[in-house]
């Protein structure tokens, strides 16, 4: 074999090997996500002629606009149904509101001492809401009010604002490719395939979570779907708010000092008897939803009580959480309200030492929340159990 022939054959073999696997690699399309939803146990009976349907709602804020999809019919008597998230309906992702940030993390290798550094990565996401509604007019879409603000057909179930849900990523490829290989492996351990949609959980800080059945909450009585925003964003925790009601027989300034502005003097005991507190007055001072801000999202959150004493004073405090929202930005804070009386003149019906155990004195102001003591659920919470 001549040298040139040998060289030619070698070149041929190399050329054949070079493209042996093909010379192109196709792009990967995001996969569908199939999600199992569970209906609430008690659903109102739909009107005879209406059928139950589900719809995934995508909303913008200003001007209010709804996009719908996917949607479908629920089989009569079903307790579960599957929704297939294939892609986004025709919409402008930037117009959706509120856009949220999904927190991903990625490990980098440049840590001092060999530890890995967790780099915080965030990806823009939108969490559409899923509603189950009565299709009163049989048009197979949820009807929107004339002002575009609400769904007018009866919504009988809706996904929870605070539980595990489905989020759509604005740019799934960018989000996933930003992950370290180790985190990408963790991502695929739950998501199984590359998708525009992901299971997320959390309030304020959204994170990926494993696939699960999503339980819907009853929708009866919730009124229009999301009159202000599709989702509320818990954006932080505000300062504790405390108000005191001090028995009029006590010195208000001595107890409240100058820092505690929300301090009120009121007669909690009868004027002619040390032990003559009017039980009705006590009841009137117990908290109701209004004490925690009407219309706020957190009004129904469980509360708890605490009784403490210090010297001759005794305080009964009820604590709760309050969430106040401005548009879709919400702040959660702890709200406390104390009744302060003399230990020598507690009123009838005073719960301390009876229904509510005392928290032993410690080096905290009388009306502070002593987390070292067991926190008693308040009456409304107990009733709910």
């Amino acid at each position: 074999m001549s040298g040139s022939t040998r060289r030619g054959r070698i070149a041929l073999y190399l050329g054949l090997a070079a493209c042996s696997g093909g010379c192109t690699a196709p792009e990967v399309s995001p996969r569908d996500l199939r999600v199992d939803y569970q209906l609430p146990e008690r659903l109102p009976e739909p009107a005879r002629e209406a059928e139950l349907r589900y719809a995934v709602l995508w909303m913008s804020s200003t001007p209010r606009r709804f996009w719908i999809g996917p949607q479908g019919r629920l089989a009569p008597g079903s307790t579960h149904f599957e929704v297939r998230f294939e892609g986004l309906p025709e919409l402008d992702f930037d117009a959706l509101a509120p856009l949220e940030q999904l927190h991903l993390s990625s490990q980098t290798q440049f840590a001092v001492g060999g530890d890995q550094v967790i780099t915080e990565l965030v990806a823009d996401v939108y969490r559409p809401r899923l509603v189950v509604y009565e299709d009163d007019n049989g048009n197979r879409v949820p009807d929107v009010s004339d002002d575009g603000e609400r769904i007018v057909e009866p919504v009988i179930a809706i996904d929870s604002e605070w539980a595990t849900g489905i989020a759509a990523l604005r740019d799934p490829k960018a989000a996933v490719t930003a992950l370290s290989l180790e985190n990408a492996e963790a991502y695929y351990a739950t998501n199984e395939a590359f998708s525009r949609f992901a299971y997320v959980t959390g309030t304020g800080r959204l994170e990926l979570t494993s696939p699960t059945t999503i339980a819907l909450a009853p929708g009866a009585g919730i009124g229009p779907v999301a009159p202000f925003c599709a989702r509320s964003l818990i954006s932080g925790f505000g300062a504790t708010k405390l108000s005191l009601v001090v028995d009029a027989r006590l010195d208000l300034v001595t107890i409240c000092g100058v820092e505690l502005a929300d301090c009120e003097s009121r007669r909690l005991t009868s004027s002619d008897s040390d032990a003559g507190l009017d039980g009705g007055d006590v009841e009137s001072l117990e908290f109701d939803a209004g004490d925690f801000g009407a219309g706020t999202l957190g009004a129904s959150t469980p509360g708890f009580e605490q009784c403490r004493y210090n010297g001759s004073l005794e305080a009964w405090t009820r604590w709760n959480y309050e969430t106040e929202c401005d548009q879709c930005q919400c702040l959660t804070r702890t709200v406390g309200r104390s009744l302060v009386v003399s230990r020598a003149a507690v009123p009838d019906g005073w719960p301390c030492g009876k229904r509510v155990a005392y928290c032993e004195p410690e080096a905290l102001p009388l009306y502070s929340l002593a987390t070292s003591c067991d926190l008693e659920p308040d009456a409304s919470t107990r009733d709910a159990r």
Binding site: I10, A17, G113, G114, A184, E185
Partner: protein, 454 residues
């Protein structure tokens, strides 16, 4: 876990690949050409390149005895050999960001003590400060690599035989032609029995690509290493199962060793066999005063061939500036995502050095890497590689270094260089911190360098 449920890949071994390999193997047998006598046992430095090949931390006496090392001051001391390659560089950014090494000094020192009866002490001590910006000597490091080397030459059946046992600094190791491991710093143990043109060789390396891995090999070589069969195991502590490989490699130097064709085929013996192939051709020559080299490489790794059964980026804990004299094309860049994708690449390399006047030389080094990653049909995975490429899909990188070198003393390697490049060795804050990036290539840099060798 990614890939754990994937029964198979649709890619089968292309029909022409084993055929090509067989042709090269037989050619190597039928057309033997004398190999250059290597002064270093298991010298896996790349001789088909113009990229500088540093000394190896063993048999320093033999290396310094080579004619091209005649300028070394420490080559004629009776029982001691000493050499140092020094470099100082100041790098400025044209675009992008610095790597850690940007205003550095590096003294790569080699010391060997030799007994008269076959024991060497070998010490490679790297002294460096990666950044003058850190403050005076704040980041200065001394990193020793030591080896004890026992060896004996003897006659057996009228043929020369030699035994070498060495550890722990194995310097930079290439297995086969580099399909599994290429120019990779390794610490562990090495044993070699050479008999005529044959050898039986064993490597044990700890911490290769991952913090919890070990690598061991058993290699049988013929024709002075032109043909080699290897069995190797890549195992993991508290990690995925061991990957065992059988591997065949061949090198065929032609035309007075100016041209080389090399091939390597490897099989991962996991539950479902996984194949890989490497083909390399290189031509190195001089055209008048112009020294030049061109090379082409083709790599193909079937999905799941890599040793780690999962997605985990390989990392290196030893990245010094002289590793710029390595190619980007390396199994390190493929094994992190091997569980997810079938991968193949075409790599072109070219270097030249041209003497000008008054001691000046122009030089250029380039590498173009065209790589592809493909997922098996019916699956949907997208990930980002440590180098920042979205996979699956093609990815392309081009690396260059070019500039002028001034050799003030004719015949001596000391030089001053002005280098334009987009290739910088990456490292963590401390060099021993693991990094999954070997090179930073996101910018363009100009670097003034002083290099000397004594």
């Amino acid at each position: 876990m990614l890939g754990s449920s994937h029964a198979g890949s649709r890619s089968a071994l292309p029909w022409n690949v084993p055929f090509t390999w067989v042709v090269v193997l037989i050619s190597a047998w039928l057309f033997p050409s004398p190999l250059r006598a290597e002064p270093v046992v298991a010298d896996t430095r790349d001789h088909y390149t113009l990229l500088k090949q540093r000394l190896v931390n063993r048999q320093l006496f033999e290396q310094l005895g080579e004619p091209e090392q005649a300028y070394r001051l420490g080559r004629n001391w009776e029982s001691v050999a000493f050499a140092v390659d020094g470099s100082v560089a100041s790098t400025q950014v044209l675009s992008g960001e610095f790597s850690r090494f940007h205003g550095y000094f590096l003294f790569d020192t080699f010391t060997a003590l030799r007994s008269p009866y076959g024991v060497d002490f070998d010490l490679n001590l790297a002294l460096f400060n990666p950044s003058a910006s850190d403050g005076i000597r704040v980041s200065s490091f001394a990193i020793p690599g030591g080896a004890l080397h026992f060896y004996r030459d003897f006659e057996l059946g009228g043929k020369h035989a030699r035994i070498d046992v060495l550890g722990t600094d194995l310097d930079h190791v290439t297995l086969g032609n580099g399909l599994l491991l290429e120019r990779w710093p390794l610490e562990g143990a090495f044993a070699n029995f050479a008999y005529g043109d044959w050898y039986l060789r064993h490597y044990f390396g700890g911490r290769v690509f991952w913090p919890n891995d070990d690598l061991y090999t058993l290699q049988l070589g013929a024709l002075g290493g032109k043909l080699e069969a290897m069995f190797s195991g890549w195992k993991f502590m508290r990690g995925p199962a061991t990957s065992n490989y059988v591997d065949l490699s061949a090198r065929l130097p032609l035309w007075g060793e100016r041209f080389q064709v090399a091939a390597e085929y490897s099989l991962n013996l996991r539950e479902q066999l996984r194949n890989a192939l490497l083909l390399k051709t290189d031509y190195i020559d001089k055209l008048g005063d112009l020294a030049w080299h061109m090379g082409y490489r083709f790599r193909w790794y079937q999905r799941g061939f890599g040793p780690y059964r999962g997605l985990a980026a390989p990392t290196t804990t030893y990245n010094l500036p002289y590793r710029e004299n390595e190619y980007l094309d390396n199994s390190f860049e493929y094994f992190g995502v091997s569980q997810g994708f079938e991968q193949w690449s075409h790599s072109l390399v070219a270097e030249f050095e041209l003497p000008l006047a008054w001691g000046f030389r122009a030089f250029g080094e380039g590498e173009a890497l065209f790589a592809f990653a493909r997922e098996p049909a019916g699956e949907a995975y997208v990930i980002g590689s440590p180098r920042g490429h979205a996979l699956p899909g093609p990815w392309v990188e081009g690396l260059y270094r070019t500039g002028l070198k001034l050799y003030p003393w004719p015949g001596l390697p000391h030089r001053l260089s002005a280098v334009f490049t987009n290739k910088q060795v990456e490292t963590g804050r401390a060099m021993s911190e693991p990094t999954d990036l070997r090179f930073r290539t996101a910018g363009h840099y100009v670097s003034l360098q002083l290099e000397a060798a004594l």
